[in-house]
Amino acid sequence: MQYVRDLKALDRRSLPLVGGKNASLGEMIKAGIRVPPGFAVTTDAYVQFISQTGIRETLSKVLGDVNVEDVSSLDAASRSLQDLIQQTPWIPDVREAIQEGYDRLCRECGVDAVPVAVRSSATAEDLPTASFAGQQDTYLWVQGGGQVAHHVRRCWASLFTSRAIAYRVRNRFPHEKVFISVGVQKMVNSKAAGVMFTLNPTDGDPSKVVIEGSWGLGETVVSGSVNPDRFVVDKVILEAGVKDISAKHIECVFDPKQGRVVNADVEPERQCRCCLEDREIKELVKIAKYIERHYGKPMDIEWAIDKDMAFPENVFIVQARPETVWSRKQAKSVIGAKSGYQLLMEQAMKRIKIP
């Protein structure tokens, strides 16, 4: 049994073991894309935990009895299952494996107690046909083996939020077939971060990369708590036809006093400054094109730009998943079978509107 796996050892075939997000990160690392180092706590670790501790039976019994249409019963079941996951004592093998994984990462990064992001990576998540986005949890700036282990369990527990349970029931995913893995990845101390799409989500234009970004960690963009800067860049000639700069009033940053990430106010003079340099935009587009080509389909990508490192080594991809909206639409011809002459005739016949 392997309870933790280095991200570098993963690829897309690892999905059953490490879930979609982790598999995707491994796949990207293999493809030479700059992804922060980290490791996955495998589904085996989760399975081993619920089996050896004997809570597996309790889980399936409670889930079997729950009526998702009854909110209070659903909430009660959710609470009890989440408590069960978090309060049942660790089994030593798994706990040690997580500690070892974390220690190794600290050594690799050359930092004691390296801050990490702990994210759930469900085996049914991120599939193009089931957008689970946001249903599992992410914990930022976690430090120390004990804290990492604690948050791994919180991620496990997130499988049993009321929403997650109800979603699975409604979409007929059997509970016992959804396993969870957790990704533990070095935090990018980001100056700016955000998301990007390898097509224009507004009109489906496949020749564009659309980047949204804001100051600090990407959570403000992902959660929609700021109006991000928005760039629409042509994939071929690489010009940014749209550069919408917004007033970015808050940023998600680590607060050493509180020991956690907080949404801090952005000083007024920085709010309306563009959060990306031109060369960073170009680099992101280059990476986006590469990722899309690698996966052979439109992608939805999370990125971050490190504060302390030098360009271009500071440009990181922290997540990539298939774009779900436009890809689901069947590719239909927009012009139809027309010859050049037919097209010319149509053009010539166009009415000219001058009142």
Partner: protein, 619 residues
């Protein structure tokens, strides 16, 4: 909306030009003036200043090119190829500046009728384009040679020579030649302009068709991306510069030639020095070979007599050659690899093509692309042959006539002939012929003409100092006339920008100007506003060029500037093409830049978004 005072440009019939321009109308023919008898129609149209063809006030004789294209462009659309809903483009003058208007579509039954002709006539052209182009070029070259061959008398002899009388009188003499020569030149000019539009309207149509296909496939694709897919590298307009590179390279391989060319002497001193050595003579010989046709390129747009050409201003090509020689000696490459440009273009096209999802769309894209590529060369090539080569020949001939008028005291300076329009010149020539025919001691009206020249020059100078309104009349709800958008870069947004400029009485208030993002990249630097083409010498390396529009003989300048901004320029504008070639950011078609930006202002040009920002005003 259009009726509101702020939402429209001045009514051409109420518009007042500055008092210093008093009497400007008499320089031009009646059909080019706003007139009471056509007032109703004129008031309803939208007239915008044509900065492509006439960025400067029009000297009366230079109006001939405008007269010629008004007929030629319009007739191909309305009566020859019959582009169904399109009509012609009308011209008017206001305070010596040219304003044009795209006329609204005709009645539906006319559109229907035209569609039939269009189908029959146009597809033929596309199918036979290559042979048609060969025919076009050879007939155009013939026409140019014919114009060159028109004999302008150098003098009016005291007595006609014997051989014109004996053994049998030729029957007509220098007086006839004089009058006939000008008529012939005018006819040839009109013919040349009829040829000019032979395939141009169709080229634009094909371009718009391809642009439309590209926009359907890639909704957000930019004009510059479309331009990059279509543009070719082997274009006549680039030849003059290539010839300079070739001559510079040759100079460095010959003995002692580069040294002479690098010197500070005048062109005359340099040629004299080169004449003295065999290598020098060999180089001069090559220079002569390149001259016709390639150095017939205008120093400006080709539309104004005072711009000169590389033929009349050899300091310009010699200056460029000097620069190239110096760069070669530093080990730099001066030539652009045309093959690379072609390859880059093909790579861009295939990358976009690779993004298309269905086979049907891919086929339509291929078809549309092949159609535009078939004919697009015309858009790129005709320009050199007509506006440059042919116009330069015309200017040479007109100057010969001017010299004759100076010789017999009808005018003070050769170029004063341009102060008369093409209907007035026969009057001058007839008077000269009459004066000669009448015999000895006959007075002529030289003083009258000279005074006229003085007055007109003053008016034109005043017009030059004046900042004309970008438009007159009622702006349309939507500007959709294809040639208007493509050639002049006029869009609804543009008109709105102009209205902003018109409303802003103090130009100092406006710090951001929008235009076409025509060449990618961002650059910041001091502005050099060049309203007149002849002031190009003022430009210093590292400045941002701000001008009404650019033209091919400026090509070597693009290696010196940080960015370029133009008032007018659509998809095929020279500045847009050349800036992309050189990787210099540019924003074209801003409408108001030359009036709002001042030389020395620090400006930022964002060629990605089409925004020009005045960062700091010059103090």
């Amino acid at each position: 909306m259009a009726q509101e005072k702020t939402g429209r440009f001045p009514d051409p019939h109420e518009f007042q030009v500055p008092p210093e321009l008093e009497g400007w109308e008499e320089m031009y023919p009646s059909h080019h003036l706003f007139s009471k008898d056509r007032a109703q129609w004129e008031k309803e149209q939208f007239w915008y200043q044509d900065k492509i063809h006439a960025p400067d006030p029009l000297p009366p004789l230079d109006l001939i090119f405008q007269e010629a294209w008004q007929i030629a462009l319009s007739q191909y659309t309305t009566r020859v190829f019959c582009i169904p809903p399109a009509q012609g483009i009308a011209q008017r003058l206001m305070g010596c500046y040219l304003y044009i208007c795209a006329i609204a579509p005709p009645a539906p039954e006319i559109i229907q009728e035209k569609a039939g002709h269009f189908e029959k006539r146009v597809f033929y052209v596309f199918e036979h384009y290559d042979e048609l182009w060969d025919k076009w070029l050879s007939k155009f070259k013939t026409l140019g040679k014919e114009m060159e061959a028109v004999r302008i008398p150098e003098e009016l002899p005291k007595f006609v020579p014997d051989d014109e009388v004996l053994p049998a009188p030729t029957g007509c003499y220098v007086s006839y030649d004089l009058i006939a020569a000008f008529d012939t030149l005018v006819n040839q000019m009109f013919k040349g302009w009829q040829y000019h539009f032979e395939m141009l309207n169709l080229t634009y149509l094909a371009y718009l068709m391809f642009a439309d296909v590209a926009r359907k496939l890639f909704p957000g694709i930019s004009e510059s991306a479309i331009g990059k897919m279509v543009a070719g590298a082997y274009v006549s307009m680039f030849r003059p510069e290539e010839e300079l590179c070739r001559l510079a390279r040759l100079a460095t391989s010959l003995r002692g030639v580069a040294e002479v060319l690098k010197g500070d002497g005048t062109v005359q001193e340099k040629t004299a020095a080169l004449e003295k050595t065999p290598d020098g003579r060999q180089w001069l010989e090559e220079y002569e070979k390149a001259k016709d046709p390639w150095f017939y390129v205008s120093c400006g747009s080709g539309w104004f007599h005072y711009e000169g050409s590389w033929l009349t201003e050899p300091e310009i090509p010699y200056g460029y050659i000097k620069g190239y020689v110096e760069r070669l000696e530093k080990g730099e490459t001066i030539e652009r690899s045309l093959d690379d440009i072609e390859k880059q273009r093909d790579a861009i096209v295939s990358e976009y093509r690779g993004l298309i999802k269905t086979d049907e769309d891919r086929k339509a894209f291929d078809d549309a692309f092949n159609t535009i590529r078939t004919i697009y060369r015309y858009a790129e090539d005709h320009l050199f042959w007509v506006e440059h080569w042919f116009h330069t020949i015309w200017f040479e001939k007109i100057r010969q006539l001017g010299s004759l008028l100076v010789k017999y005291d009808m005018l003070e300076a050769v170029d004063d002939i341009y102060m008369f329009n093409r209907y007035e010149i026969p009057e001058l020539l007839t008077e000269l012929a009459t004066w000669w025919a009448l015999g000895e001691n006959i007075p002529h009206r030289g003083t009258y003409y000279k005074d006229k020249v003085k007055k007109r020059k003053k008016i034109l100078e005043a017009a030059r100092q004046w900042n004309p309104t970008p438009a007159l009349g009622v702006p349309p709800e939507e500007v959709a006339e294809p040639f208007t958008i493509m050639l002049w870069g006029i869009t609804t947004d543009k008109v709105k920008e102009w209205l902003k400029g018109v409303d802003t009485t103090a130009a100092g208030d406006m710090n951001e100007i929008k235009g076409f993002a025509s060449s990618a990249g961002v650059a910041e630097g001091p502005a050099r506003v060049l309203k007149l083409l002849k002031d190009i010498g003022d430009l210093k390396p590292g400045e941002v060029l701000v001008c009404p529009s650019t033209n091919p003989s400026w090509a070597p300048v693009f290696t010196q500037i940080k960015a370029a901004v133009t008032d007018i320029g659509g998809l095929t504008s020279h500045a847009a093409i050349v800036c992309r070639e050189y990787g210099v950011p540019s924003v074209t078609g801003t409408g108001v830049s030359t009036s709002i930006i001042k030389t020395g202002d620090i400006i930022r040009v964002d060629g990605d978004t089409g925004v020009v920002t005045i960062v700091k005003r010059a103090s």
